[in-house]
Amino acid sequence: MNLFLNQLINGLHVGSIYALIALGYTMVYGIVKLINFAHGDIIMVGAYTAVIVLMTLGWSAPVALLAAVVVCVIFGVLIERIAYKPLRNSPRISSLITAIGVSMLLQNAALLIFGAQPQPFPTVLNIEPIKLNGIQISFVTLLTVGISAVLMILLQGFVIGSKAGKAMRAASEDYTTAQLMGINVNTTITLTFAIGCALAGIGSFLFCMAYPAVSPTMGSLPGLKAFIAAVLGGIGIIPGAMLGGFVMGVAESLTKAYISTTMSDAVVYGILILVLLVKPTGLLGKTTSEKV
């Protein structure tokens, strides 16, 4: 039982990181209907930023976190403006390919600048794991799950309550109409990318605390998993991304622990396929069919 709880906690830890990244995917998808493949690489950008601030400049962890968030936001907004905006009315697949191109560019630029070898991420918090009745929770896990939960609640509040949030929701319904209602769609889309990337920045820091290796391709796998989490939960839906992230994390962890460590990816994809077959728009997705 304790082992089960420990594994569940491991799953929640990974899951909360997936969820943070998935939010970026889902928000962007909700408005521009673009699978932003470069989103995973934003994590890499944030991670390198943090490493430089911590190791080269020798500044403190909060500064590094802030720097990571700021640089991620700048990158995200620039990418949107340069690469995605001109394609807003092109076939969807063109912007998808562009996103793949941006992803390749970021990875290879990092490869050129930093080399292929992973760089170690310094230990920021050196606190012993907390033990409770044979269940043990590492401090990093606690922190990660906590921060993610708080951020998601804040985000949901922002989207529901604030004016900018309402604009985002309106734009995601139909951005041509939103424009007619006096909403500046460009600003709204930029804001969406900025928020998504800020979350990715925080996510990158939390990711590095758990997995202290920073490399040019570090973002692609968690990016892909997070994206799948977003689809699983119902892409475009914020609570869906959170749910999807946690489901993925826990499923992965429990599969590794009780079914097969090596087949865990297959099981995770299997779950995704099953869910989509039963509920084609994801766990929380609404069924929409094209009007004839």
């Binding site: 082992l3 420990n6 594994q7 491991n10 799953g11 830890h13 990974v14 190791m55 292929a116 070898q117 992973p118 760089q119 170690p120 991420f121 310094p122 230990t123 012993e128 794991p129 043990q136 590492s138 990093v140 896990t141 758990a210 997995y211 202290p212 290796a213 490399s215 570090m218 796998l221 968690p222 992965e252 962890s253 590794k256 622990a257 460590t261 090596t262 865990s264 990816d265």
Partner: protein, 376 residues
């Protein structure tokens, strides 16, 4: 029909390139160096290259081989099997007489496939997988083998009085998988119980689930047949979970020092190496000295030493054969008996060297230090 005209254009470009190639001088002996020189595992190939280049430079200063200068042509495989074949096909049209490579086991097998077709000599400085030389009379290596080092680790653990051990391995790489299989067989024989054997998938970053299972099984030590970069991640997560035991690795883990920020965790790592910079033999001391003079750093990745040795063996064989005939060189390599940097080298029936293993660990600053030498 533009598609055809483009293809023919390509052919013309290819023609120009191939015409430009034979400009190279006639009076040299060319050897090929093939291996991963870029990407995640690039530093292994680069270490090999530094060792090989050093010996080629030394022998050219002494007048070369068969009275000719030696030229080495390097090709990067990016760790990719089909690139290794491409590299061979490219070099084989340039009068290359022998090959050093490849670096990783997978690409070495691919390279062996094509060198065997032509029967040209190939010496890998670092492919530790058993199958690389199987049924390949022309393929040799200057490193010890995975089964051998895995057995040595099991024996080392048994000697340390360890009774319960866990294994975390990557079942998607033949290196990790092969080490695990050999380790399992030997530890069963020695009565060391494997209380948990957890596999991870290639490219994983999260090992906490496996480590939690391992922790739950309460082992006295963990065997980690991993390369350094992955091992560093595993150690960090083990620390986070409070899994406080010694970790044993094989030769691949040697570069872990580059991937950890907090070097103190390394004091828990024991691993097998092909060479130790603390080695006392005259040739080894001279090698370390020459290497430091040439590159301004110590040969910390031992593949520099085995690479150097591969060059020594290949060029000595060419000298002994008295010609650049492939068959003659292969026979001469087979008859090798010399003292090289990483120990004595003679080849057995399977074209493997019979060599010593160096157990090493790290101090709190990440410097390697020598623990024990195990002779075959």
């Amino acid at each position: 029909m533009k598609k055809r005209s483009i293809l023919s254009m390509l052919v013309v470009i290819a023609l120009i390139i191939s015409a430009a190639l034979p400009v190279l001088a006639e009076d040299v002996i060319k050897i090929g160096g093939i291996g991963v020189l870029s990407g995640k595992y690039g530093m292994y190939g680069l270490a090999v290259r530094e060792g090989v280049d050093l010996y080629v430079k030394q022998i050219n200063e002494k007048g070369g081989v068969l009275g000719k200068q030696v030229q080495i042509l390097w090709e990067d495989t990016q760790g990719n099997a089909s690139e290794a074949i491409n590299a061979y096909l490219k070099l084989s049209d340039m009068d290359v007489v022998g090959y050093i490579g490849a670096v990783l086991s997978g690409e070495s097998k691919a390279l062996a496939e094509v060198t065997a077709e032509d029967g040209v000599p190939q010496i890998s400085p670092s492919a530790t997988d058993y199958d690389v030389t199987t049924g390949r009379p022309n393929v040799f290596r200057t490193c010890f083998l995975d089964p051998f080092q895995a057995k040595a680790v099991a024996e080392y653990m048994a000697a340390e009085g360890i009774k319960k051990v866990a294994v975390l391995y990557d079942n998607a790489t033949d290196y990790s998988n092969g080490l695990y299989e050999a380790f399992k067989a030997k530890s069963e024989e020695l009565g060391v119980e494997i209380v948990a054997a957890e596999a991870a998938a290639y490219g994983d970053t999260d090992y906490k689930t496996q480590l939690t299972t391992i922790q739950n099984a309460k082992p006295e030590a963990v065997f980690l047949p991993y390369y350094g970069a992955d091992a560093a991640l595993i150690l960090a997560q083990a620390k986070e979970l409070g899994l406080d035991v010694n970790f044993y690795g094989a030769d691949g883990i040697a570069d872990i020092v580059d991937y950890v920020a907090d070097k103190s965790v390394l004091t828990k790592v024991v691993y097998t190496d092909h060479f130790s910079t603390d080695a006392q033999s005259e040739i080894a001391v001279n090698f370390v000295k020459a290497f430091e003079a040439e590159y301004g750093k110590a040969p910390t990745i031992s593949f520099s030493a085995t690479g150097y040795d591969a060059a020594v063996v290949l060029l000595a064989a060419i000298e002994a054969a008295g010609s650049t005939d492939a068959k003659a060189i292969v026979d001469a390599i087979k008859a090798t008996n010399l003292t090289a940097v990483s120990g004595n080298i003679t080849f057995d029936d399977h074209n493997d060297p019979i060599k010593s293993i160096f157990f090493q660990t790290f101090d709190g600053e990440g410097n390697k230090f020598f623990l024990k030498q195990v002779d075959p």
